[in-house]
């Protein structure tokens, strides 16, 4: 069932930008407006994501600032923050706003600046990223975000025999995909040897297992099912699932199964009346290579325990049976935190329209986006399908 439709999508190149956040967001929002053929007068509200502007640049109340920049001053604006799932949560709420008839046309999107252009070095940014772990029960150990996913991945390796080579294959695949995407932060392919030769960040993750610090923005125009046909190229949102899990991670039943992703996927698939088998491709939250392995299993795209093997065998490559992260994923496309969730929606929209350019997949009709926050304790899973 169609819950809402995306009728316009835009994003900046992900990478290094020496530009204030409102200008970065403006580039994405105007691209989405133009793609949809709407002006700001037709857009009724903004559902906005930014994860860490307060910490990186002493910027809060950014919603009305970016709204002003794109001509939406006056309209209701809400900022969401759910760590790396920030703009997927904004998107979910945007979908609900048009589905319920509250609004007809809304803008959902996000922006973030994470590169040293903010003036912050790796140590400072590593602490800021760690703010999404528990202040009292996790941060005091010196935990970092690579380490959060390393803890999950190590247990997966222990239980299923997943190897560092398999993880490297995820990186190689996504860099290969990213090399076809002009919006990607990294445009260069890599090799398993190169990946396994990098310095260790938090074992088993080496440098090439980790997504980069990126700047960027993304935005989509979301309209109600009723209105969608009056636009040129609507793509339907048929399911959005959102679930959380216990924090801190030690208290989760089985941390590496990422239960929130399973719960969110079940909800999203049920709403869309699809099964994992009917999904043609997916954008998943590969902040670290191990995270893609866990996500591909949690979404049912690969059997439990087979995520690493599937990557190594090329089954999740763009020419495989279940292409994952054809955009390059967070790993190669980049991960400007608050922009990542809606950037996945931008990618699904373009793939389902057949307008993804050099990295277009062939014959795709149903795509899934998986965006997580924190130690996977927030996950939003969205199903999109071409409009019949």
């Amino acid at each position: 069932m169609t819950r809402a439709s995306v009728v316009g999508a835009g994003m900046t190149k992900f990478g290094v930008h020496d530009t204030p956040m409102q200008e970065l967001f403006g580039e994405a929002a105007f691209a989405a407006f133009d793609d949809a053929g709407v002006g700001p007068d037709e857009v009724e509200a903004l559902y906005f994501g930014n994860a860490m502007g307060g910490q990186t640049e002493n910027v809060t109340h950014l919603g009305p600032q970016v709204a002003t920049h794109v001509g939406l001053a006056g309209k209701p604006v809400q900022r969401y923050e759910d760590a790396c799932a920030t703009s997927a949560n904004a998107f979910k709420n945007a979908v609900e706003a048009v589905e319920s008839g509250r609004h007809d046309v809304v803008l959902a999107g996000g922006v973030e600046r994470c590169t040293p252009e903010t003036g912050l070095d790796t140590d400072a940014m590593t602490r800021i990223f760690a703010s999404a772990s528990h202040r009292q029960y996790e941060q005091p150990t010196g935990l970092t975000f690579p380490a959060v996913f390393a803890l999950l991945t190590k247990r997966h390796m222990h239980e299923h025999g997943t190897t560092e080579e398999q993880l490297a294959h995820v990186a190689v695949k996504n860099h290969g995909h990213g090399s076809l995407n002009p919006k990607a932060h990294f445009g260069k392919e890599t090799t398993v040897e190169e990946a396994l030769d990098g310095p260790v960040v938090a074992d088993p993750f080496r440098l090439m297992d980790c997504c980069p610090f990126s700047d960027g923005a993304s935005a989509v125009v979301v309209v109600s099912d009723d209105l969608a046909d009056s636009f040129d190229a609507p793509v339907d949102v048929t399911g959005v699932g959102h679930a959380t899990d216990v924090v801190p991670l030690a208290d989760k039943d089985t941390p590496h199964v990422t239960q929130a992703a399973r719960d969110a996927a079940t909800t999203a698939y049920d709403q869309a009346a699809v099964t994992a088998d009917e999904v043609d491709f997916a954008e998943v939250h590969d902040c670290f290579t191990g995270a893609e392995v866990l996500a591909s299993e949690a979404l049912g795209l690969v059997e439990d325990g087979q995520g690493g093997i599937a990557a190594a065998e090329g089954r999740t490559r763009r020419d495989g049976e279940m292409p994952i992260n054809a955009s390059g994923g967070l790993k190669a496309k980049g991960h400007p935190i608050g922009a990542t969730g809606t950037a996945q929606i931008v990618e699904l929209t373009k793939q389902l329209r057949g307008t993804a350019g050099d990295h277009q997949l062939s014959g795709v009709e149903c795509g899934v986006a998986h965006n997580l926050g924190g130690d996977a304790a927030t996950t939003v899973v969205s199903v999109m399908e071409g409009r019949a």
């Binding site: 790796t122 140590d123 400072a124 590593t126 602490r127 990223f129 760690a130 202040r135 009292q136 029960y137 996790e138 941060q139 005091p140 150990t141 010196g142 935990l143 970092t144 690579p146 380490a147 390393a150 803890l151 999950l152 190590k154 247990r155 222990h158 310095p199 260790v200 960040v201 938090a202 074992d203 088993p204 216990v246 801190p248 991670l249 030690a250 208290d251 941390p255 590496h256």
Partner: protein, 131 residues
């Protein structure tokens, strides 16, 4: 003789109680009087059933490594590199901790050895491998 015999456990477990206990070499959790679920850190409600009738319990100070990683790129405020962070399975509950001493692997036996409080006075328990 366990410390439990000596000191009064707080009826409602707060972070401050938990932190004070960590400084005293003790790990406190909560047992749910409705469903018997044990939580490894203070909470207002049971993670299993949502119940609020919780009893503070002393957790074992020995366990096995559930998962682990060694961190080479630390956050601001942590000077050293190459330290190991683990989740320790204590039986009924798990806790996150820092390893001091030799590197440990999943499944290794470890014992509570003390705490660090390099992070702005927030203590984290430390474990060391058993011989």
């Amino acid at each position: 003789m366990s410390a439990q015999d000596d000191i009064e456990l707080p009826e409602t477990l707060s972070y401050h109680d938990w932190a004070a206990a960590v400084r005293e070499g003790q790990l406190l959790g909560q047992s749910c009087n409705d469903c018997d679920h044990v939580g490894g850190v203070p909470s207002g409600a049971c993670q299993e059933c949502g119940g609020r009738d919780l009893t503070t319990v002393e957790l074992p100070t020995t366990g096995t490594v559930y998962t682990e990683t060694t961190i080479n790129v630390p956050p601001e405020g942590f000077q050293e590199r190459g330290y190991q962070v683990v989740v320790v399975d204590l039986g009924d509950a798990r806790v996150m901790a820092r390893i001091v001493g030799e590197h440990v692997d999943i499944g290794d036996d470890v014992s509570l050895s003390g705490f660090i409080d390099t992070d702005d006075d927030h203590p984290a328990p430390t474990f060391e491998p058993d011989d």
